[in-house]
């Protein structure tokens, strides 16, 4: 997993570099300053899901399966909320502001960077859901805690990437 994270970081680095490189290079509008709103609430959701998954993994190690399942579902809910936030933002941008991936350079880089991250959140959520199904059928125990730890490592990585994306897109980029 550490190897995968290293490789994924390189992919994200390239997209972030492309985003930064093209900041302010768009020939036509809209610009980030005009259309972007900082998604603070959803960011808090995603970041706190890192905490819940951490404690979920810890409780599985101690064999508190019920606590684990509760925290795990909370993580999924928070991640889902974040995705909903992204979807809402995109809907607003596309239908109200008329910004699509082919509008200008900002659109191209914004949708690919945020989209790449959202794709990773989605992939993570699918894996989390698979674990949750196993949890409901009562198959999650201490012996699975190693696997859950690996999965939670991935989730932390997705969160950490969001910190970078957030900084680049919503703080520096405006």
């Amino acid at each position: 997993m550490a190897g995968l994270i290293m490789a994924e970081s390189a992919i994200f680095t390239i997209f972030v570099v492309a985003y930064l490189f093209y900041l302010g290079k768009s020939i036509t509008g809209p610009t980030p300053r005009e259309v972007l709103e900082t998604p603070i609430l959803y960011t808090i959701c995603l970041l706190s899901s890192s905490l819940t998954i951490h404690f979920a993994a810890k409780s599985l190690e101690r064999d508190y399966t019920r606590l684990f399942l509760g925290l795990w579902l909370l993580t999924i809910a928070l991640g889902g909320l974040f995705l909903y936030g992204t979807a809402q933002e995109w809907h607003r941008l596309i239908y109200e502001r008329g910004l699509t991936i082919s509008t200008n350079l900002f659109g191209t880089t914004y949708y690919s960077l945020v989209g790449l991250h959202a794709f990773h959140v989605t992939a993570g959520l699918i894996m989390l859901l698979v674990v949750a199904t196993f949890g409901f059928t009562g198959r999650m125990g201490v012996n699975q805690s190693g696997r859950v730890a690996v999965l939670s490592m991935y989730w932390h990585f997705v969160d950490a990437v969001w910190v970078v994306v957030f900084t680049v897109v919503y703080v520096l980029g405006r």
Binding site: G3, M6, A7, A10, I11, I14, Y22, K25, I27, S112
Partner: protein, 557 residues
Amino acid sequence: MSSNAITIPGARIEAKPWVDELHQWLTTVDHKRLGILYILSSLLFLAVGGVEALIIRIQLMHSRNNFVSPEVFNRMFTMHGTTMIFFVAMPVLFGFANYLVPLMIGARDMAFPRLNAFSFWLSFLGGLLLYFSFLGGSGLYGAGSAPDVGWWSYAPLGARAFSPGHSSDYWTLALLVSGFGSIGTAINIIATILCLRCPGMKINRMPLLVWMNLVMAGMVLLAITPLSAAQIMLLIDRYLGGHFFDTQAGGSAVLWMHFFWIFGHPEVYVLIIPCFAFMSEIIPVFSRKPIFGYPVMVAATVCIGFVSMSVWAHHMFTIGMNSYANSFFTLTTMVVGIPTGIKIFNWIGTMWGGRIQFKTPMLFSIGFLFQFLIAGLTGIMMAASPFDWQLSLSYFVVAHFHYVIVGGILFALFAAFYYWYPKMTGRMLSERLGKWHFWLFLIGFHLTFDVMHIPGVLGMPRRIYTYEPGRGWDTLNFIISIGAFIQALAILVFVANLIISYFKGARAGNDPWDAWTLEWSISSPPPVYNFATVSTVASRRPLWDLKHPEDPDSRYE
């Protein structure tokens, strides 16, 4: 696992129906079989890429030749480059890594056998996807066409307006898919080396081959991924109307170059480091001496791994970067020469005073040493940016990197084939055919690529499909093409050797070369489970300790 039953080495195994056999090969997760599949698939693509090279050389044999049309010529050099790098060199090196790394560290298999199989099929099917473009490149209605925008696919050539149809899409998808395969294999190699070493195999006792494959895998993770990212961007440009590399909307063609070469240059080291690894195993065995300067060798490899990540823009001196960037990349490129030089001295130091046996693997290794040195020297010449301004995009560059890839990588690979073929099949390759192969290939290689430097200096640009008579290029190009055919002949001898020796070669036994690493301690070919008992290692040369209990290496470490 295809078969869990433990077969006793040496026992006769009943012949299975060929459908069963085929099914087992297709569904295998065994690292040895996957390694062989990797190697076989790359040999297949080597033949295809070789034919493309011959078509290029026939076309350039004399001025104003009409053997193929300009369009076909463009397809040929694009496909030749892409095939040779992505579907020959990488898979064959991954194949050897797959086969040898677990055996050398005394492991049962790779860390993730299923991921291993998945990665192989990704990269193999990626290759088929690339070649499907010949049929499907223009859709079903038109004649097929392969990608023809060069293996860099520089923007804006790769954009939809300049590369209509689907040929570039096949190129993009093939590289994306095989790139994911490479990432999977790299993760697998790293996890295997870090987690599955046998007792006593401390990290500073690993064979150098294992060390170098570790560095190679780390580089794959950091080098292939930028290419994947860039390919995703290109797909967004081509299908979703993005503007990453669309200069009319403010995008940048230069950014594509940067992304491509951030992949492209480390890639050269991804390919050459496993070849260093072969050298570091083969030269000591045939010099009958342990490797000279093991720790320095490791340090130099790691050093190359780091420095080579920051040299990419030396491919771009002519695009008009500022002088700071030019000086920086000139400097870093020259710095890479230092650890590489250390390695060459270490190999010579290993041979120095040794009792050298001139078997075929050693011949190829010595060829590698000389040719890689020359390739490095022309590399240093072109690292000087003013010199590069003069010769960039000329045949001098083509000669330089073929010197690296054919004179370096391919020679090292041939050495590896002759060295490990007995382990993989249980039969020795014929020495007589091997010597023919070596000398023919050596002569053909030097005829082609030594001479190729000269038209470059005389100003012949690369990627031209023909040229005017009377520029003094005709005779030189004719000689180059003759050399190419001699190389092709040598490859035929090699393939004949592989096939004939498989059926009629002398039995190899466990340890035909009297070598020192763990893979030679078990039968050839190794049983499915590799090691019947878990070996314990006390030094860098475990088999030496076993054979010479009176004077083991472990006493000196």
